[in-house]
């Protein structure tokens, strides 16, 4: 079994057990080409990953034009990820960024560049924006040490650093908080 085949099989197995699970659309994985063999294990293009709970209800969906997997680091790197997080009985959180990285089987992720987390509520839209966010999708937790902006139906607050419990709709702004309430 050539090294490519082993790497490819390992990757497919690895994807099957990660929390992101397999999407309705089969993820087309192609082995890496020769030049980045020792780093890049495989990549996927135009893919959608949908995670559902045991009742088949969507919990999280990610789509992106390209994603690369680096086995030696157990690291996924995804360009222009767009994702939906579906908290129970609540409107979805919709997110986007220039780049996303995920490790620990998808339990942790980092979002870099124009990061937006948006939730549309009956009383208005809530949005968190920053240049960088560390995310624990399953725990619906996000944090940053960078400048951050939180906007709500009738307020806007900027600060340096934030911790957000998305499912609890609670956000701590850690330094230099500047708020405007209408």
């Amino acid at each position: 079994m050539t090294r490519h085949m082993i790497a490819f099989a390992a990757l497919v197995f690895m994807l099957a057990v990660t929390w992101w699970g397999f999407g309705e659309r089969e993820v087309a994985l192609e082995p890496a080409d020769e030049s980045t063999e020792d780093l890049l294990t495989a990549y996927a293009t135009d893919f959608v990953i949908l995670r559902t709970n045991d009742k088949g209800v969507a919990e999280f969906q990610l789509e992106a034009p390209i994603g690369r997997y680096f086995e030696n680091q157990d690291l996924w790197q995804i360009d222009e990820p767009q994702w939906h997080m579906y908290p129970e009985d609540e409107p979805a959180w919709v997110g986007s960024a220039d780049i996303g990285q995920s490790w620990a089987g998808g339990e942790e992720a980092e979002l870099i560049g124009n990061v937006k987390l948006t939730q549309v509520l009956p009383e208005g839209t809530r949005q968190l924006t920053s240049e960088r966010f560390f995310l624990q999708p399953k725990a619906q937790y996000a944090e940053t040490n960078d400048p951050v902006r939180l906007t709500g139906p009738t307020y806007e607050i900027t600060a340096i650093g934030a911790r957000a419990w998305l499912d609890e709709k609670r956000t701590e702004l850690l330094n230099e908080a500047r708020g405007q309430h209408d």
Binding site: E123, G152, T154, E172, L173, A177, G179, H181, D182
Partner: protein, 146 residues
């Protein structure tokens, strides 16, 4: 007269959208046009429509200052606890023993309510444990020498 938005500065803030409550902590300064309030903690409450309703201020003491529309001397106040209502009507309530003064004129009392637009002040001395007295000192305006 349309009033501007309420702006706050603080060391940290915490927002709970589920409750419609934002809490600002540490060197908190609220400004709204010429009105300025300072304190250690400010809790911003919104109503069911998420409109700004009232702001509770705690300080050592909390302070208030505004400049009357007629351009008179600034009005100042201080008390351990204040409540600022942004509208209907806009007012500041000093609790737990407050003092409000403008130039040499001064009011003290357990609870003092100042209606910003009217420039009217109501003082109430009664409260459990309060001295129960309201003190008002008003200096007649100096007659201009002819």
């Amino acid at each position: 007269q349309t009033r501007g938005p309420v702006q706050l500065e603080a060391d940290t803030a915490e927002v709970s959208d589920a409750d419609g409550l934002s809490i600002y902590r540490g060197n908190v300064v609220l400004t709204r046009d010429d009105t300025r309030i300072t304190g250690d903690v400010m809790r911003v409450y919104t109503d069911s429509e998420r409109e700004l309703q009232r702001i509770e201020v705690e300080g050592n003491p909390a302070t208030y200052r505004d400049i009357p529309l007629d351009g008179g001397a600034p009005r100042r106040a201080e008390s351990p606890i204040m409540e600022y209502y942004a509208a209907n009507p806009e007012r500041i309530i000093l609790r737990s023993g407050g003092r409000l003064w403008q130039g040499d004129n001064e009011v003290t009392g357990e609870t003092i309510t100042h209606f910003v637009a009217e420039g009217r002040t109501v003082a109430d001395g009664s409260s459990a444990g309060g001295s129960g007295r309201v003190n008002v000192t008003v200096f007649p305006e100096q007659e201009s020498e002819e």
